[in-house]
């Protein structure tokens, strides 16, 4: 098992695709920083217009913490797209290259092979999230310094600078869990369709559909919310609320773990029963 994990990690980190997604994530974060440097003050003056009517706002609104928080909004679509590209290829590329036949003729258990690939996918998710956050936080703090955070959730909330690192760590942990759950979607599609592109497209289609339905918050659609994975993925934001709604976050974390478990189980069943000549 240890060797299998090592091999999967080796394959993951020699793949150009892995570094391309890292590079895109870094570029995305730098573009956000640059955009904020050029236009950020105007945007926030506009957003805080209603507050400015009644109050003198003193202090630095536009700071590194705020930009990092804004950069995390790429978790809605951009980051899942990049992650699923690699996650799907971890599984589907073996089918596309035909190497799966060679692998399955080796004296290894299929469960171990799937487990090793799953762990490689988890490691990729962790590495991706780490690189994304560092490339958002470090340049932003160097360019803009640190300060209190203004969050536009349920009105306007001012979050103390001192509590930001803790909140960020929790939200990144939560976001990583959601990205692993989303990668599992790529994994199961890869096993059923045995094609990277089809898996990526299907995963993205599911994400778009879920996000779209999430926006239909009226009438009958509102009852769908708890069943939409994008609804649960978006809960990383709640760590930046003044009063963190722990029960809501725990509920969503439970949903995502159940999603990982169910998708993992179906993937295992499919992989176990798979004919070697498929």
């Amino acid at each position: 098992m240890k060797d299998l994990i090592y091999i999967e990690l080796y394959k993951l980190f020699v793949s150009t695709r892995t570094y391309v997604t890292f590079g895109i994530a870094v570029a995305l974060m730098l573009i956000i920083n640059l955009g904020m440097y050029m236009e950020g003050q105007e945007i926030f003056d506009f957003l805080l217009e209603s507050v400015n009517e009644y109050f003198y706002v003193e202090g630095k609104v536009l700071n590194g913490y705020l930009i990092t928080y804004l950069a995390l909004n790429t978790l809605w679509v951009h980051i899942p797209v990049l992650i699923v590209i690699v996650a799907a290829s971890i599984f589907a590329s073996e089918f596309e290259l035909g190497t799966i036949r060679l692998l399955l003729t080796q004296p290894i258990r299929r469960g171990d092979l799937l487990g090793a690939k799953f762990l490689a996918m988890v490691v990729y998710n962790l590495a991706f999230m780490f690189i994304t956050v560092v490339s958002a936080l470090v340049p932003a703090c160097l360019m803009f310094g640190t300060g209190d955070l203004v969050v536009f959730l349920d009105g306007i909330q001012f979050i103390q600078e001192t509590s930001f690192p803790g909140r960020l760590a929790w939200s990144i942990g939560f976001a990583t869990l959601s990205m692993i759950a989303f990668s599992c979607l790529g994994m199961i599609f890869s096993l059923y369709f045995k094609n990277t592109l089809t898996s990526i497209l299907l995963s993205m289609g599911m994400l778009i559909l879920s996000t779209l339905l999430q926006k239909f918050v009226f009438g009958v659609f509102s009852s769908w919310q708890p069943f939409l994975f994008s609804h649960h993925f978006s809960k990383w934001q709640l760590f930046f609320m003044d009063q963190v709604p722990v029960s809501s976050i725990l509920g969503s974390a439970g949903f995502m773990m159940a999603m990982i478990l169910v998708l993992g189980l179906f993937s295992y069943i499919k992989f176990k029963k798979m004919n070697i000549t498929e």
Binding site: S50, E58, D148, Q160
Partner: protein, 206 residues
């Protein structure tokens, strides 16, 4: 005499009468607030407005005549534009008509009417102590931002030790979509509601 002449004479008469700030109480009050040139203090600010969450803050503030208050503090802080100690100086320095309304215990109640069309406020009811020449209550109606009620407490000094400002405010708007926040049906429906804002300022003078 033509009717138009009679109207002009009447208007001039009442205008002149109205602008006459010969009421000694108001003149003394105006003189007192005019004398205050520069104030340095620490203010503990508590803000209680639906839709705006901000922790209690302590800031250092310098109030100087005809200048924007200098505020220094840790992180972000919000200082109300109305209701601070400079409010009454601005109020009394505007050309206005003062009308005595009643007595409230030993305090006197006046209605002030701004005569300058460019002034921020239209009318103000003030309750002050004629002996100490300190304003304890005020209700200021502004042109753009509704009514501000201020309650001052004094601790044997010429400046308030505690001020409570209440005002009506439109619930702070939720951001545009690019911020990426999730908007729910409940938050969308409550966006245009008026809410009561309450700010408490506790002063320590330096």
């Amino acid at each position: 005499m033509r009717p138009i002449h009679a109207i002009i004479v009447l208007v001039c008469f009442f205008q002149g009468f109205g602008q006459d700030l010969s009421d000694s109480y108001i003149l003394e009050l105006k003189e007192k607030y005019d004398n205050d040139s520069e104030v340095k203090c620490q203010i503990r600010i508590r803000i209680d407005i639906d839709g705006l969450t901000i922790p209690e803050k302590e800031v250092y503030v310098e109030f100087a005549r005809d200048q924007k208050a200098v505020v220094r503090g840790k992180g972000l802080s919000l200082l109300p534009k109305r209701g601070t100690i400079e409010q009454f100086r601005n109020l009394l320095s505007t050309p206005m008509q003062a009308i005595f309304l009643s007595k409230k215990g030993s305090y006197r109640v006046y209605k002030l009417v701004a005569l300058d069309p460019s002034s921020d406020w239209i009318t103000a009811d003030i309750v002050f102590d004629p002996e100490e020449k300190l304003i304890y209550e005020s209700v200021v109606n502004t042109r753009k931002h509704g009514t501000f009620t201020t309650l001052n407490q004094y601790d044997g000094k010429d400046y308030p030790s505690r001020t409570e400002v209440t005002f009506e405010v439109k619930k702070f708007k939720l951001p545009l979509k690019f911020i990426g926040s999730e908007q729910t049906a409940e938050t969308l429906s409550g966006m245009n509601d008026d809410v009561i804002g309450r700010v408490i300022l506790e002063y320590t003078y330096l």
